[in-house]
Symmetry: C2
């Protein structure tokens, strides 16, 4: 269900094509959701069929045509209805931690490499989110006020990345120490 409403929310903020959405997912909601372009197109078709979206084909000079989607009244109503519903308890899925759970099958060097790779990934994400945050802080105050909660989700993303980084750094220190002894 969440992809459906992530799409509706983004199109509510600003209409766009499947291609646009894919980029907006990467640039502005990657701290809580991700999806492939195939999923976008499938979801857009479905939402359109159900009458939650309008679709306007735009011919462009020097670029392929595109289909710009926007919310219908029905779509806006469905979105409002969903947001007030309490969310189901989260399903946690962390493939990296599954691997570490079986980490006793690794040598100390392999353990260190695995943790280091994870650390690098989360440092990159942190930087990405911080750049987004700076763009937000530079933007229009009225917009900032309207999307205050949305901005808070980004701040959560930043804290989550910092938690990963602290954990991985601590682990690496312990691994180094245990080599010496």
């Amino acid at each position: 269900m969440s992809l459906r409403f992530a799409v509706l929310t983004l199109l509510d903020i600003e209409p766009g094509s499947g291609y646009d959405l894919k980029r907006r997912f990467e640039r502005s909601v990657s701290h809580f959701w991700s999806a492939s372009h195939q999923q976008m197109y499938r979801e857009l078709h479905k939402l359109h069929q159900e009458g939650l979206l309008d679709c306007e084909e735009q011919t462009q000079a020097g670029k392929p045509d595109k289909k710009v989607y926007s919310l219908t009244e029905l779509g806006r109503a469905e979105l409002r209805e969903w947001v007030i519903q309490p969310s189901a308890p989260q399903k946690i899925r962390e493939p990296f931690l599954v691997r570490m759970f079986a980490g006793h099958n690794l040598s100390r060097d392999e353990q260190r490499d695995a943790v280091e790779a994870q650390l690098h990934q989360h440092r990159a994400s942190l930087q990405n989110y911080q750049e987004q945050n700076e763009r937000v802080l530079k933007s229009d105050t009225a917009l900032q006020e309207r999307y205050w909660l949305a901005h808070q989700t980004l701040l959560f993303g930043i804290e989550a990345e910092k938690t990963w980084i602290r954990w991985a750094e601590g682990l690496l220190e312990e691994l180094e120490e245990s080599v010496k002894t």
Copy 2:
């Protein structure tokens, strides 16, 4: 893929039935993965067909029969091979944050209720993980050393929950303040 290897890892530590696994998922790996009993049974059948698991049917007095699965040599090899592979970058999926991203459709009271519900969930998870942690700390030192990295994943889970709680508490404070002004 991760479910497959979570199952293999748990059965590597100790053989068990689908039913057992389901409970062990809830009691001891819920901080990084969850799965329904249907998924367990399907996965066990598949792993058995592929020759990665042995299956022994046990008749029990006063209880239904059960099928106890354990790793074959092939299963152990497959597990080792997988653990050394680098993991793909994580896909983040947080339905609650999707809802908050569309939070400008909510009244201030509804926003507060939503954040409070989330706070309660994460407090409950934190307590659960801390109890698990205490059980681990009371256990055999040899086991603790062997499953050192597995234990670190639990400590990560605890930190992640604390991050959620700090974030939610901060948000609630800000919501209260903005009511006064």
